[in-house]
Subunit: 108 residues, 2 copies
DNA sequence: CTCATTGTTCGACAGTCGCGGTACAGTGCG
DNA sequence: CGCACTGTACCGCGACTGTCGAACAATGAG
């Protein structure tokens, strides 16, 4: 594990909420929640125009908040949602957030 | 109603999450969730040292995100959580967030 | 009316955020 | 090895955030 990830016990809800309170990061998390393994480029491609360096910044925010795991593999950097950890610590939170994001989609 | 509050349909989860993603605002919301009617000074007193003008700023953030109602009454400004609206639009979100904040309390 | 109380508005300021560009490191492929 | 690819590191920039103090408006109490 090349990056420092917070322990489950070190995760704080302030950090999680403000990490998720940004459209690009929330959209990224929704994609990761779709399952499967993603690398950074994947998501940049799905999201459209956002520079790599900006996304690197968002990955760090999400990682340090405890929302995602980031694990280099070959020349890629694989991303996954820390759903088990989040669900254990904050039951129902992620589900409510993701459902809420879907609600917003319909309303827009 | 002297302040402009967003319609329930105008509330967006990004705004709600980033509004709640700040320790002082989250603490305020937790107090408001305790029930009863509160004015601004009440909460400032409970939270401890935070200037009035700073709190005015936080109230605006919460209000514009659709998290609280703010209604002047006499020379006070009464605050209440928009729980019905939030629960309707984002079922389970507020419960999960408030429960999560309580979890953090225990961990600290 | 006079005055204390309540909270807003305004201005200022330091710090962080979001963003992209460029350069670079690490990897795999030919 | 040489090269394309993936993503990070670092820099700088403009915008926004969080914070406060001072002045002000509105109201209720005496």
């Amino acid at each position: 594990m090349r990056y420092r990830h917070p322990d489950p016990a070190q995760i704080r809800i302030d950090g999680v909420l403000s990490a998720l309170g940004h459209p690009v990061r929330l959209a990224s998390v929704r994609i990761l929640d779709g399952g499967g393994v993603h690398n950074c480029g994947d998501i940049v491609k799905i999201l459209g125009a956002t520079s790599k360096s900006t996304m690197t910044h968002h990955w760090r925010v999400l990682r340090e908040a405890g929302v995602i795991f980031q694990e280099p593999s070959g020349r890629e950097n694989l991303l996954r949602l820390r759903r088990p950890d989040l669900d254990t610590r904050y039951p129902g939170l992620l589900d409510a957030v993701l459902a809420g994001a879907a609600t917003d989609d319909v309303t827009d």
